[in-house]
Symmetry: C2
């Protein structure tokens, strides 16, 4: 470790607090920028400005205003900047800023760097950051160029190019913001949109440790355990959710029922892939059956990858949960996968993470139910969507009163900053001093 | 260990399967006994008979018939026998039968006996069983005698005595079956009913390791860790849930609103205590607010004690979850409480248990949503109530069609037998053979 944990440099603020303050300040700046008269086509309230800024910076995508009609170009630029900053930029910059401030960067090794990069200096961090930014820019530019093939013929040069860039950046950062009132429903059967947009948000959702592994190593055997788990987990989740969605909605007139079979398949693929964290939609989310809605809530809780633009408990956390449960039923005391052991310590972390997530979701939902009228399923869906920074809506978020909005702002903030803060805590574990004898408890 | 794990005696069936078969056979016998013409006042269908037998044997208490009006005395006797057998009897008898068959009784030590009783012979088991039966009988007779003070003046001698015994047995076994169509709502403000019935189901729900600890040892310091955790956890849960229920329902006209303040307090205490697993009610469960309903679903998942008449993931499992999460945030690598360590191994078990429970609840709910029409919250509540063998209902269970009933029968069966089976699995852990190097995964 280049900088020991105890060295604190210019500031004595703990890193999680720095992160929270950073987000807080950026939301305020964003809200002010959105509130200026030339940002919007109509006058907007402070609660609308703060809600939109929070939703953009936390890459959630829940909206209380129509992004295309209510915001002018300047407002849209502010939104897309907040998205870029909140998605990957802020994390990358935070790494740089914290290490420059002399703050502990031990967490960076654990969180962001591959396990074989044990020696990290400030210059290593800087080159890592450069590589991340290069990958991000490359993906977003290529994505925009390909989306332009659809958007320029439809909207003309000027409008089409702006649409392409906006949706490419929004997709790569898993933000779910769209310049169309019904998200991407107009392109429900368009092959280019159905391939490029998901590709962007899947890559962005893998997390940059995985992307850098794939970028530099082209050999499955040399991939880190984390990369292998993320790739296998993502593929399995994509196939499972696509097939389940198609099976459950195939004849539902409110969603897939009226489409031809090719469009049904495109829509199933897009919607299933988008739900874990991207938050775009090509079918009507409010029209889905209750069983699909339940499955979607599960997908939103699972989320995307660590150190990615996505939210949720993360795919690897979910895999460890499943593996630990299977190991228990196979009566194996340890969790082994791909020739590697997952330590009991990491299983403990997973447990803590899941418990905190469940508590936060339940508390949020509780607050929503007490302070806001609405159907239980709708409120549960919106709360989980906000917590997982997904942004899908059953159509109740835009009807929220100020209290409902404040709660949603809080949930989005917690949903994005909370897991990151836990990430910091994952870093260093103090050794315990007293050793007690083991006690027996009867469980289950 | 008196009998080594590998010695299997007369049968080669694994213990969990024996337990499942035992429950299955008893449900069939119970259903046949309820289907005979003189058991009921009106002809009933097979699905109604099987549903009632399952609900009684799994001590759930969900009903599709009116226990007082539709069943004759014989039918009610069959029901109370199934309750007694399913509540404590079957577990006690299973211990005896399995050990007599020469089946592994290693699990008995882990599950049922105090940690200081490491040497267990068949005669020890027999005397333990005798003690359990003595405590059960004592509680039920004393309970019935005290309830008779209320029921005999109201219903006369013959009817009053039967009511007293039925409700005492139903309460001690956390069955929730009542001979009144609106459960115990008539006695919402009656101090005797509000003290005796909860006392019975709380003692029954503590689990007999705890009861035997209290019975034999009268010194807090000498209590086992399990007993201490159960007592503290139960008291904290009782206080918290009573206060929360009172706060949220105080002015709700459908529940507490119309009552005087003393009755409000009695009702809050009774309903909050009853919800974790007993399943009696003195207020209208369907009239509660959505937020209270959510809290109740949480309480039903937590449940009562291990090796008790209650269901759910169990109070100790919940405490370990909370302690493990707190330990993580305090950056302690181990979980310590009351001067004892909870091993990483046990935390792993808790994780597996919670994951299985969540999977089963989600799968059940999924099946309900696909095959049965109904409001999401109502179906979720009934599914969790069945899984936790609670028996509270928002009034939709008695409207279920045969498919809905079959799913509910399945959930009740899984809810009662599943955790017990997991209990068996908790017993012996095979040592693993290959040791892999530890891999790093990024979580959260
Ligand atoms: K999103
Ligand atoms: K019950």
């Amino acid at each position: 470790m280049a900088l020991p944990y105890t060295k604190r440099g210019v500031t004595h603020l703990p890193p999680p607090l720095v992160l929270v303050l950073l987000y807080f300040v950026l939301i305020l700046i964003g809200a002010i920028a959105l509130k200026v008269p030339f940002a919007t086509a109509i006058p907007i309230t402070w609660s609308e400005a703060i809600f939109t800024a929070t939703s953009a910076l936390t890459v959630t995508g829940l909206i209380v205003l129509d992004t295309s009609a209510d915001f002018n170009l300047f407002g849209q630029i502010v939104i897309i900047c907040l998205i870029q900053l909140g998605g990957l930029g802020l994390m990358t910059f935070a790494v740089l800023i914290l290490s420059m401030l002399g703050l502990p960067v031990g967490f960076t090794q654990n969180l962001y760097l591959r396990e074989d990069l044990n020696q990290t200096s400030a210059s290593d961090l800087f080159s890592l950051t450069k590589m991340i930014l290069r990958v991000v820019l490359l993906c977003e530019i290529v994505g925009a160029a390909l989306l332009a093939l659809v958007f320029i013929p439809e909207f003309g040069w000027r409008e089409g190019i702006w649409q392409s860039f906006f949706h490419s950046i929004s997709a790569f950062n898993n933000a779910g913001f769209s310049l169309f009132p019904d998200s991407l429903s107009h392109w429900v059967g368009n092959p280019v949109v159905n391939i490029i947009v998901p590709l962007l948000f899947i890559i962005g959702g893998l997390g940059f440790t995985v992307v850098s592994d794939i970028w530099r190593i082209h050999n499955w055997r040399q991939f880190s355990l984390h990369t292998k788990l993320m790739l296998v987990g993502t593929i399995v989740l994509l196939i499972w959710s696509t097939l389940t969605f198609a099976a459950m909605e195939w004849t539902n007139p409110a969603t897939l029922g009226g489409l031809d079979w090719a469009t049904k398949l495109w829509a199933s693929w897009f919607q299933a892939a988008s739900t874990r964290t991207a938050g775009f939609n090509t079918v009507d989310i409010g029209g889905m059956t209750d069983s699909t809605t339940l499955m979607f809530m599960l997908l939103m809780v699972i989320g995307a990858g660590s150190s990615s633009t996505g939210g949720g408990i993360k795919v690897t956390t979910f895999i460890v949960l499943v593996l630990a449960t299977l190991a228990f039923f196979k009566r194996r005391p340890t969790v082994d996968i791909f020739g590697r052991r997952i330590s009991a310590d990491q299983v403990m972390k997973v447990l803590a993470l899941v418990m905190v997530t469940l508590s936060l979701i339940l508390t949020s939902l509780f607050a929503m139910l007490i302070f806001h009228e609405g159907a239980f399923l709708d409120l549960a869906f919106e709360a989980i969507s906000a917590f997982g920074t997904v942004g899908l809506s059953r159509g109740v978020t835009d009807q929220f009163d100020p209290i409902g909005r404040i709660i949603m702002i809080f949930i989005m903030f917690i949903g994005r900053v909370g897991p990151l803060t836990i990430g910091f805590l994952l870093a260093a574990q103090k050794p315990k001093r007293i050793s007690y004898p083991t006690g027996t408890i009867y469980l289950g």
